[in-house]
């Protein structure tokens, strides 16, 4: 029965339906109705995707729920969707985080709520399209389209330097994308197709693979972001509104890692292998560098932004170990980091909403003033450090194992994250959660409202659940096995 329903299309188009409803709302009732419509839309989408996850065959590594329509043969443009064990979790992550963000935006955003909701729903739709698409051109379009709502979210509701931040963000990512577009066009001239499953079978020479890999690499490296292409991220985060930051860190960055795993690695194994060592070195530099930067920040949001760079560096290192441990760990860590960093940005946003400051030195003693907030922030901090029972621990351990298969030095370098993350995250908590409540800025704070604690604790609950029983890894592994076997061939 399910086979006949285009369920993925429905999931992708539901948010667009929400957008349409939003535009039809009468002006007088715009705000309230817009919140309700958007919330309902996102919840239904989430419920549908959970339903899909239940129907999903986790032992099968191939694509499921495939939909295919040829649009234009000349350009290789097809409407081709499918889910495998990797994209399934990203779809769930997207729907979950967007739901939380809409719930939170309903009261964190004060002006022009309807437009904001429209942007969030558009973003959701584009992200889902990017994660589900099995056509390279379609992926590229969705990958690029994601920028548009984010551009407006930062540009309209951002902080003081939002214009500079948006342009930096936009230019950076566009530069990478253009290189990827060139790569895609070249790939089309070689294979006369942009269908992902056909491309996997395409025979490319080693030289071609190297150049194509490089062209894809820059797009994804900037998106991830890898050192030294990261400098758009802290700026964008600091200027973005809270929910914008949550989506940026939680989902947009994951497009980079997802792109590596979905496209750059399986399509160009020789190229990826050729550049693996430099990329791993860059990752290690990025890990240490971003940790140092995070430690010295005076702005909470910047600190968490740099911690994202550090975590993503661990992920890229895991990806380029090319073994099942490293890759599974990387995907799992992406999910974990998506949840945790979104939660941390929400924590920062909640105190910003109350006291109007991002400066660390303006805070102190929040654990005493707002105990529930203190607990949830502490739990998320510990999850960011990667303590056992959180999703990050298992993921990090996989990555360390994967790196160890490459060499002991790599394992010890990537394990440095174990120490460094504790150094900067606990320093942050010490400065804002502990200490005395004597700063003039932090006065009269009230503890979390039910919807705030609901949002934070639902994130914490998932982080814990995935750490205590790693149910996603089974399907992730199943879907990664073909890629890994390609590498074993490429090594030979």
């Amino acid at each position: 029965m399910l086979k006949e329903i285009p369920i993925l299309t429905i999931i992708i188009l539901l948010p667009i339906l929400g957008v349409i409803f939003n535009t039809l709302i009468n002006k007088d009732l715009a705000e309230e109705n817009s919140k309700k419509v958007s919330l309902w839309t996102s919840f239904v989408t989430l419920a549908l995707s959970i339903f899909v996850a239940c129907q999903f065959d986790h032992a099968d590594g191939g694509f499921q729920f495939i939909e295919y329509t040829l649009i234009n043969k000349l350009m290789g443009f097809e409407y081709h969707l499918g889910l495998d064990g990797i994209s399934l979790w990203f779809v769930l992550l997207t729907n979950f985080l967007v739901s939380i963000c809409i719930l939170m935006s309903a009261y964190l955003i004060k002006v022009n709520v309807r437009f904001y909701m429209i942007l969030l729903l558009m973003l959701q739709s584009f992200l889902l399209a990017a994660f589900c698409s099995l056509n390279l051109l379609m992926f590229f379009v969705a990958f690029e389209a994601v920028l548009i709502p984010m551009f407006f979210i930062i540009g309209v509701w951002g902080g003081e330097r939002r214009i500079y931040a948006t342009f930096k963000f936009f230019l950076y990512t566009m530069t990478g994308s253009i290189l990827m577009l060139i790569g895609i066009v070249y790939l089309y001239t070689q294979g006369e197709t942009l269908n992902y499953q056909d491309l996997l079978l395409l025979k490319l020479t080693d030289g071609q693979q190297k150049w194509l890999f490089l062209s894809f690499f820059f797009a994804f490296a900037i998106k991830t972001p890898m050192w030294p292409f990261h400098s758009w991220l802290p700026e964008a985060h600091v200027q973005a509104p809270t929910t914008g930051s949550m989506l940026l860190a939680g989902l947009l960055l994951k497009l980079g890692g997802y792109g590596f795993i979905r496209f750059a690695l399986p399509l160009f194994p020789v190229g990826a292998l050729y550049f693996s060592k430099p990329i791993m070195i860059i990752s290690v530099i990025g890990l240490v560098y971003a940790s140092l930067m995070a430690f010295a920040q005076k702005d909470m949001k910047k600190l968490i932004a740099y911690s994202s760079v550090a975590h993503m560096a661990v992920i890229t290192l895991g990806i380029f170990t090319f073994n099942i441990f490293g890759l599974t760990g990387a995907v799992y860590q992406m999910i974990g980091h998506g949840l945790v960093s979104a939660g941390l940005f929400l924590c920062v946003g909640l105190v910003y909403f109350r006291f109007g400051s991002h400066r660390i030195s303006d805070y102190g003693g929040l654990a005493r003033m707002m105990p529930v907030y203190g607990v949830s922030f502490m739990l998320l901090t510990l999850a960011a450090i990667g303590l056992p029972l959180s999703i990050g621990f298992v993921a990090e351990f996989f990555i360390i194992l994967g790196a160890l298969k490459v060499g002991f030095v790599w394992a010890s370098l990537v394990a440095l994250g174990v120490i460094l993350s504790a150094v900067y995250m606990l320093s942050l908590y010490k400065n804002i959660g502990f200490g005395e409540m004597n700063t003039p800025h932090v006065q009269g704070g009230y503890d979390l409202k039910w919807y705030e604690s609901f949002s934070l604790f639902s994130i914490v609950a998932i982080v814990l659940a995935c750490g205590i029983h790693t149910f996603p890894t089974q399907s992730i592994e199943a879907s990664l096995t073909p890629t890994v076997s390609k590498y074993l061939e490429a090594v030979k």
């Binding site: 930096k168 230019l171 950076y172 530069t175 030294p228 292409f229 990261h230 400098s231 758009w232 560098y289 140092l292 930067m293 430690f295 010295a296 099942i324 441990f325 599974t328 003693g365 654990a367 005493r368 510990l382 303590l387 056992p388 029972l389 621990f393 298992v394 351990f397 996989f398 360390i400 194992l401 160890l404 298969k405 002991f408 394992a411 010890s412 394990a415 440095l416 174990v418 120490i419 504790a422 150094v423 606990l426 320093s427 010490k430 959660g433 502990f434 200490g435 005395e436 409540m437 205590i468 029983h469 790693t470 149910f471 890894t473 089974q474 592994e477």
Partner: protein
């Protein structure tokens, strides 16, 4: 039996969760009773379990639930209850119960007492998880869990700066150890092909020595951080910023022995590695000596005991280096009891002295608080190894086995010197606290601590006095099964004890009488005293070689690089480059016809 072990494990967790979740709904007393009684039941069940395991001879193993699902790497939540686990269960739950009971009174006036009790119970659960786990990764969960609880409890009074800094330091230093430990686990998986203890031990013969060496070496560094061995001990003295019951439970009796436990657990692999064992032996001996000397010159009551803990952990490490794992475990057990007793008595002293920590400023105690006095005396005597008290048996066993081991002579001598040091700092502490009249301490009214605070002291005093005598035959037998028969001349058997006792008596006289010569001695030894009082300048050293460079890199170098290199040549550079390019292009468009003709000519020439 499985049910019993599960009850032992999860009752403390239940107590912790319930009391924390309902901390607003119920009165504080409910939480106190709940946590204490749950741990109490756990403790009773532990005795039952220990008896069953001992009579049944042979471990039981069971799987609770799946954890990590990856083909070829599936890990379960699995438990293995053998005699080692059973002993640890008894020790942990018993000391924990005493500390819970003590805390209900000691922390009575703290407004966050429920949070405190809840953390204590959570810690107990994590420690039990650590000692009962059947695989390395799960052991690491307990390992990190106890570290986390230690962090939270050191920083329990988080409004003050001292506890905040101390808890941060403790976490980060422990994290350095964890770095090595997690690497060790990864290496263990790659070389042994499994993380289950039973499979690792079954396959140890197939694994090359240097792989086993790597694994054990990495574990040892992890254990050094947790068990405060020299070099990575710097967090332990600072951890005394936490409430005293925490120091008793976590930083004396249980958590700090987790490193020792790990190495004992891994002993089947560790056993054959001679080079590493020698290193461990020396590290242990050095730690025992180092901490003993530093304890001589400290003035903070709790810090003296903390360094004493550090020193005793050194002894346990020595035993592991001498491959006498049962001796290490024996000392772990006796030490847990008498050190907890000592700390809780110190807590009683501190609360009677209205929060004074400095031993030089203690009011005149004398015999005004007789129970505390006697308990402290029992604790101190057990610590220095007075005959027939618990410490005597375990410490002697360690020194004897060290003597017998191949590299034995130097560590043995250091160990015996440390015995003397132990006696001296213990006696100094005791006399300074209780007989301060001689130094002109204030004579103030002092009443004995409340009854409920003395009960746990009494409970702990029983094993401190007698457990050594009762358990010595079993442990000696176990050691002899492991190493070889211990034959020592009679005089050597009594040497450490004799030194300890004579030091105790001589220095009791010296400190009590306040000999003027002592003051002169300290004056003469001024630089040495300063060196010891500054803990051999470890903190300063680390500040210069690690903390300051790190802060410099983070605060100065990295931001400079970010703006001057990445942004300058990255996005801003690109933007500038493009604008310069377009300026150049626009210069070409002069509007003069002959220029355009020239371009056309050039292009056609290129084309040809």
């Amino acid at each position: 039996m499985i049910a019993i072990s599960l009850f032992i494990l999860f009752l403390p967790l239940l107590g912790s969760a319930v009391s924390y979740a309902f901390r607003r709904s119920f009165r504080a007393q409910v939480a106190q009773v709940a946590t204490t009684s749950f741990v109490g039941i756990s403790c009773l069940l532990s005795f039952v379990l220990a008896y069953t395991v001992y009579t049944q001879k042979g471990p039981i193993q069971f799987v609770l639930a799946p954890w990590v699902l990856l083909s070829g790497f599936s890990i379960n939540w699995s438990f293995s209850i053998d005699i080692l686990t059973a002993v640890m269960f008894v020790v942990v739950t018993f000391v924990s119960f005493c500390v819970h009971l003590y805390s209900t009174n000691y922390m009575k006036f703290d407004k966050s007492i429920v949070r405190f009790m809840s953390y204590l119970s959570l810690f107990t659960f994590m420690m039990l998880l650590l000692v009962s786990s059947a695989n390395l990764l799960q052991l690491f969960v307990g390992w990190e869990g106890v570290g986390l609880c230690s962090y939270l409890l050191i920083g329990f009074w988080f409004e003050k700066d001292g506890p905040c800094q101390a808890s941060y330091k403790a976490f980060v230093v422990n994290r350095i150890g964890d770095f090595f430990f997690i690497l060790g686990i990864a290496v263990a998986y790659v070389s042994f092909g499994s993380l289950d203890f039973s499979e690792i031990f079954a396959h140890k013969a197939d694994v090359q020595d240097h792989a086993a060496m790597w694994v054990c070496g990495l574990f040892f560094i992890g254990a050094m951080a947790k068990s405060a061995q020299i070099g990575l001990h710097v967090w332990l003295p600072d951890a005394m910023e936490g409430p005293t019951p925490v120091s008793a439970l976590i930083h004396a009796a249980t958590m700090v022995t987790a490193g020792i436990f790990l190495l004992v657990r891994f002993s089947p692999v560790l056993n054959g590695l001679e080079t590493l064992n020698t290193i461990i032996l020396y590290v242990g001996a050095l730690t025992a000596f180092y901490a003993g000397t530093v304890a001589l010159a400290q003035n903070d009551l709790k810090r003296i005991i903390a360094f004493s803990t550090c020193s005793q952990l050194g002894y346990m490490m020595m035993a592991i280096g001498a491959t006498a794992y049962s001796a290490a475990l024996f000392h772990l057990v006796t030490h847990a009891f008498f050190k907890a007793l000592l700390f809780l008595s110190a807590g009683s002293v501190i609360s009677l002295a209205k929060g004074e920590h400095d031993v030089r400023k203690m009011p005149e105690f004398g015999f005004k608080a007789p129970v505390t006095y006697i308990m402290m005396l029992i604790g101190s005597l057990a610590l220095i190894g007075a005959p027939f008290l618990s410490g005597y048996y375990s410490k002697d066993l360690i020194l004897e086995t060290v003597m017998q081991s191949k590299v034995g002579m130097i560590p043995y001598v250091i160990g015996v010197i440390s015995v003397a040091l132990t006696a001296i700092y213990s006696v100094r502490l005791f006399v300074y606290v209780f007989h301060s009249k001689a130094r002109g301490g204030d004579s103030v009214e002092i009443n004995e601590s409340p009854f409920m605070m003395l009960v746990p002291l009494g409970l702990l005093a029983i094993p401190s006095l007698g457990i050594g005598y009762f358990l010595a035959p079993y442990f000696t037998e176990a050691v002899e099964g492991m190493v070889h028969t211990i034959i020592l001349p009679e005089w050597q058997k009594w040497l450490p004890t004799g030194i300890a006792c004579s030091c105790f008596l001589v220095f009791f006289y010296i400190f009590y009488r306040q000999k003027a010569s002592l003051g002169q001695l300290v004056k003469l030894a001024g630089p040495v005293h300063k060196f010891l009082a500054s803990k051999w300048y470890f903190d300063e050293l680390y500040s210069w070689i690690i903390v300051k460079p790190f802060q410099f890199m983070a605060g100065k170098m990295a931001p400079l690089f970010e703006t001057k290199v990445i942004d300058r040549y990255g996005p801003n550079g690109l933007a500038r480059f493009i604008s310069v390019l377009f300026q150049m292009v626009s210069k070409i468009q002069t509007g003069a016809m002959y220029h355009y003709m020239f371009y056309m000519l050039c292009l056609s020439l290129i084309h040809i």
